[in-house]
Structure formats: C-alpha cells, structure tokens
C-alpha cells in the first residue's frame, strides 16, 4: 500500500513572514496522492495551490508537518538532496513555460538529461522520443521566441517528461493558452499519464484543466475544502 503512495502530506502548515507578523498560506493539510494519479489542486487565487505545489516540488519547505515525496521527506532534505530529488524524480511545467530562450527546442528538452549525465547517444534518443510525444520533431532547431504559446508549452511538457519522472508538477499550465491549445496540451498530458504512468499534480483554477482531472483537491484559504475523486470506467479511460 505504502509503495503505491507517491506523496504523503501530514499536518502541513506553511507560514510566510509579512511585515511584523506572519501570513499562513497552508493550514493543517493532510493528503496522500498515489502513483499514476492525474490530480489537481483547485481553488481561487491565494488559496495556497502554488505554495503546496512548491513544497511538494522541494522548492520550498514546510513550516510544520511532513511532506514525503517518493520516500523522501522534503523538510529534512539538504539543498543538494532537494536538488537531486528534483533532478531525478520531478518534472515541472510552468504557466509561462520558463524555457531557456537562447537554447533551441532540442537543447531545452535535452537540459534535464545533461544534468543527469546521460550518454550522448541515449540522450539524443530520449529527446527525440519526448519531442515525438508532443509532436514537435519538426521544430527541433527552433528557439522559443520562434514558437507559439501552445508549442512552447509542449516543449515544456517534453522537457518535464524526457527523463520519465515519477511526478510532474504543473502550475497553471494553460493560463496563457487559448482553448484549442489548452485542450491539445491537456490531451497530451493525459496521454502521457496513461501511457507512461507518470503522476501529474496540477495547480489550477481553469475549468478546462479541471474537466480533465480524475481527482480534484479543492483548497480554500489554505485548507483542503473538498477532495473529489472522479471514477472513470476502464473503457472510458481507454
């Protein structure tokens, strides 16, 4: 059972210093997220979605409570261990893509593999596979400024997926995209989740994203307001 759990959050509290006092962004959050889930943290702005996503992504640490991701307690990791966790197990997709502007599509997707010191030949194969998943092989030599928003986000997905991470964290991935591109992106991610078994955790308030989620964790004022699991029949999911 424990092996099935990818993320375990127990009594998580996150406070930020604000002026003379403190602002509590997350209050007593307890959750478990299993491997292969396609889950979203849903809520209005300021509800704590991104803060929670950052802590799960080991970019931030809890003030109180425990967050265990793929067997590693985020609050207890050293800077180097946290970087190692991100490098090996996590993929990130951001609202504004965060691609390296001076690098080509190929180089952007290749970047996480360079960090993992994967040999050149294998690296090339993995990058081309990832670009194939998102349908961007013809754009391999383009640079981000030459791509549309939808294409940029597909590059970001390929970059997040290329190392086949345990978990992909996507923060408002469709916020800058039109409806058609949003659906295309979401279908791509859903397909990768299904085919590769990668766990996706979204932070969103976009209805288009919400409609694709199989589990919706509603946050309100830093608390879990509702945790809704959508039952999908096997035939529907296929």
């Amino acid at each position: 059972m424990e092996n099935h759990v990818l993320i375990r959050i127990d009594g998580l509290v996150k406070r930020f210093p604000m002026g003379q006092g403190e602002f509590t962004a997350l209050r007593d959050i307890s959750l478990t997220i299993g491997r292969g889930e396609f889950t979203g943290l849903v809520g209005p702005s300021g509800s704590g979605k991104t803060t929670l996503l950052n802590i799960v992504g080991s970019l931030d640490v809890p003030t109180e409570g425990a967050v265990v991701v793929d067997g590693r307690s985020v609050g207890r990791l050293t800077t180097r261990e946290a970087a190692q966790l991100r490098k090996e197990r996590l993929g990130f997709i951001f609202q504004s893509y965060n691609l390296l502007a001076v690098h080509t599509v190929y180089e952007n997707v290749e970047f996480p593999l360079l960090l993992l010191k994967i040999p050149a030949e294998e690296r090339r194969r993995m990058v081309m596979d990832a670009l194939e998943w998102v349908g961007l092989v013809p754009k391999v030599k383009s640079k981000p400024p030459q791509l549309s928003g939808g294409e940029c986000q597909r590059v970001a997905i390929a970059r997040a997926m290329v190392k086949k991470p345990s978990l992909v964290l996507a923060d408002e991935p469709t916020a800058n995209l039109d409806a058609a591109n949003s659906h295309h992106i979401l279908q791509t991610m859903e397909k990768l989740n299904r085919e590769l078994g990668t766990t996706f955790l979204f932070a969103t308030h976009d209805d288009k994203v919400i409609s694709y989620l199989r589990r919706k964790i509603y946050l309100l004022d830093g608390r879990v307001d509702k945790d809704e699991i959508i039952v999908v029949s096997k035939t529907e999911s296929l």
């Binding site: 970019l59 991100r86 690098h103 360079l114």
Partner: protein, 391 residues
C-alpha cells in the same frame, strides 16, 4: 564543470551583441597590455644591449676614487695599470680607459666635457675608435650625435680643448671632430669626448694610467687589485632595470584603467543578467541545480568572456604583435633628447611569461568580477525567481 561550460557557451552565443561587445573590449585589453609590456621588455633588452655594446662591455673595474656622478673625483680617479690586469690588457681581454675633465670652446662658447682616452685599436666596444687613428695636426676626437646636436658641431669642426695635467697645470690644443657616432646610450654620448688613450696620457702626464678597465667578456676571471673595484654588468645595468621598473609601474596604472573598463562592462552584464534572468535562474533550480551550481554557472559564463576575448585577441592581435616585433614602434619624438637609453625605434619582446601572466591576470580578474554579483543568486528564493520577481 563541463556542463557549466557547455551551458555558458550556449548562453553567451545566444546573448549575441552584448557578449561580443564585452569580448571585443576585453580583447583590446589583452592586446594592449601584451604589446605595451612587450615594448617595455624590448626597451629593457635594447637598453642593456646598447649599454654593453657602447659603454660597459662585459663589466668594468673602476679606480676606487671614480664616481661617474661626480666629475670632481676625476682628478684623483686614476692609477697605473695594476700588474694583475696587465696581461688582460695585453691580450685584449681588458680595455683601459682614462677619463679626465676638460673644456672645449666651440665658436667661443665654453663647454665642460669628460675627455675619455681609448685605444684606437679596441674591439670591445662598438665605438668607432679606429677613426681616432687619423693623421691630423690637431687632437682627433669622436663625439656622439646628442653631444653634436647640443653644441651644434659637425665632423671636421675644430675647436680648442683645454685640460689640466697631473700637476694641475692648464694646457690647451686644437681638437678636430673626426667622426660623429650615433648611439642610444646617453652616458656614452652626452658631455663625452673620445680621444686616443696614449695621446691623453701624454697630455696629462699620466703615462700608463687608467681610470677604469672594460671587460670583453662577462665571465673573465680576474683578481681585483687593491684600490680598484669590480663592477659587474648586472650592477652597471641596474639603473636600466630601475628605470624600466619605474616606467612599468606607471604603465600599470594604464593597464588598471584598461582592465577596469573591461571589467566594468562584464560586471554590468552580470548584474543585468542576474536581474533579467531571474526566471531562468529559478528554472535551473527547478530542473535540479543547487543555487551554488547556478552561481558557478554564471561565474563560468562571465569568465568565458575572457576566454573568448583571448581567442579573439589571438585572431587579430597575433598578426599585429608579430608585425610590431618585426617592424618595431618608431617614437614620434627625437629620443636622443630624452636623456635615457632609448632607441628611436623600439622592438617589443614578448616572453612566454608575459603572455601567460597577462592571460592569467585577465582570467582571474574576470572570474572575480563575474563571481561578485553572482553571489546574489545564493540568497535568492527559487519560488520567487521562478515567477521572475525581482529580489
């Protein structure tokens, strides 16, 4: 490190004109520093070589009373050729020189001079002493171009030379300039008149005496007699070293300004990069870099300006530096008036040490200047950086 270099290279090439402007400015620093240092080294070599060829040979033995900076010592600064040196003089390994005070009267003007008696058959110095072996009814004399220019003399001019003999009695005779030689060593030229040694000895009644002896070779082994002092070539050229050192210190200020300008450009670029590329910094961290590694990446990126500048400097600087080494740098002013051993055309000499030390200094300075603003990244909050918020 390899990854940092690879990424830094991509980032620098991607940054385009900004990178190239920095690289061009920095490459100027490389070329100018190496060229100017080369000129200094070349000057040093040239001055020492000229001093050796025109004045000091392989070193000298001075009479204990001799002080080249005090003409009043010349009255007593002479003695018979010591036995220990006689064989050296005989074999041509040593050249005796007698120096006395004198006065010349060109066109009625009175000009104090040092009269140097040299053997017309000497071959140790480049001085054209053989020209003293001239049949003339006057005292044949050689002077340098600087002296000739100062007192407006030319070859063939005649004037009265007055001197005192060993008893202090004044005597005077007509002297003829048989040749004007050109040399870059002021102490061998300014205020110096060369006449045949035996003639001077006769005129001053200092038969068989000398003020100093010049060695043909630096490594000639001699026993220095009592009352005489050995002056090695190194001691005699120390002044040149000191002069060059003083000039080099002055030049260092210019190098400092040059480097400062180049470093300012790199510092600015680094600061701008850190402010403009916050989102990129956050992305690096999200993808698995530690903040320390991002600091390293930015430092490598800044330092690579110097590497690229070195390559660019090689491309255009190498032909320029080689051309200068061959053609030399001709001074725009008449150097004979400078009062120091400096040739009209200086030929830069580039040593391996000069090139390596310049590259190392520029690289290290660039690395420090690149690291300095990059330290800020270590204090950045990655979640804020990811959103591109200024910190």
């Amino acid at each position: 490190m390899r990854l940092a270099i690879k990424l830094a290279w991509r980032n620098l090439i991607g940054a385009g004109l900004r990178t190239w402007l920095n690289v061009i400015v920095l490459s100027f620093s490389f070329v100018i520093i190496i060229w100017m240092k080369g000129i200094m080294t070349g000057w040093d070599h040239q001055a020492k070589t000229d001093m050796t060829n025109w004045e000091i040979g392989g070193g000298q033995i001075w009479h204990a009373e001799y002080d080249p900076y005090d003409p009043m010592t010349l009255n007593d600064a002479h003695g018979p050729v010591p036995e220990a040196l006689a064989q050296g003089v005989e074999s041509g390994a040593l050249m005796p020189v007698l120096i006395v005070q004198g006065t010349i009267y060109p066109e009625g003007r009175m000009v104090p001079v040092a009269v140097r008696g040299v053997d017309p058959g000497q071959t140790i110095l480049q001085l054209p002493a053989h020209r003293l072996d001239t049949v003339t009814d006057a005292i044949p004399a050689l002077i340098g171009t600087q002296m000739a220019h100062t007192i407006r003399l030319k070859a063939g001019d005649r004037m009265i030379l007055r001197w005192r003999d060993i008893h202090g009695t004044f005597d005077a005779r007509e002297m003829e300039i048989v040749e004007i030689f050109s040399c870059t060593v002021p102490t061998a030229d300014a205020g110096q008149i060369y006449i045949p040694l035996e003639m001077l000895r006769e005129m001053t009644l200092l038969n068989g005496e000398a003020t100093l002896f010049t060695f043909r070779n630096e490594d000639t082994a001699v026993t220095v007699p009592e009352g005489w002092t050995l002056k090695t070539k190194k001691e005699l050229t120390r002044q040149v070293d000191e002069l060059i050192q003083t000039k080099s210190a002055g030049q260092s200020v210019l190098f400092g300004v040059l480097l400062l300008l180049a470093m300012l450009a790199i510092f600015d670029t680094q600061v701008l990069s850190i402010f403009r590329r916050q989102k990129e910094i956050g992305t690096y961290i999200a993808l698995g870099y530690t903040r320390g590694e991002v600091v390293g990446l930015f430092t490598v990126e800044g330092s690579m300006h110097a590497v690229m500048a070195a390559m660019l400097a090689t491309a255009y600087g190498l032909p320029f530096l080689l051309w200068q080494a061959k053609e030399g740098w001709t001074m725009p002013l008449d150097t004979s008036q400078f009062g120091m051993a400096i040739a009209q055309t200086l030929y830069p000499v580039y040593t391996v040490g000069l090139v390596i030390s310049t590259i190392l200094i520029v690289l290290m300075t660039t690395a420090i200047v690149s690291y300095w603003p990059s330290r800020r990244i270590a204090r950045m909050n990655p979640t804020e950086a990811l959103r591109g918020r200024l910190q």
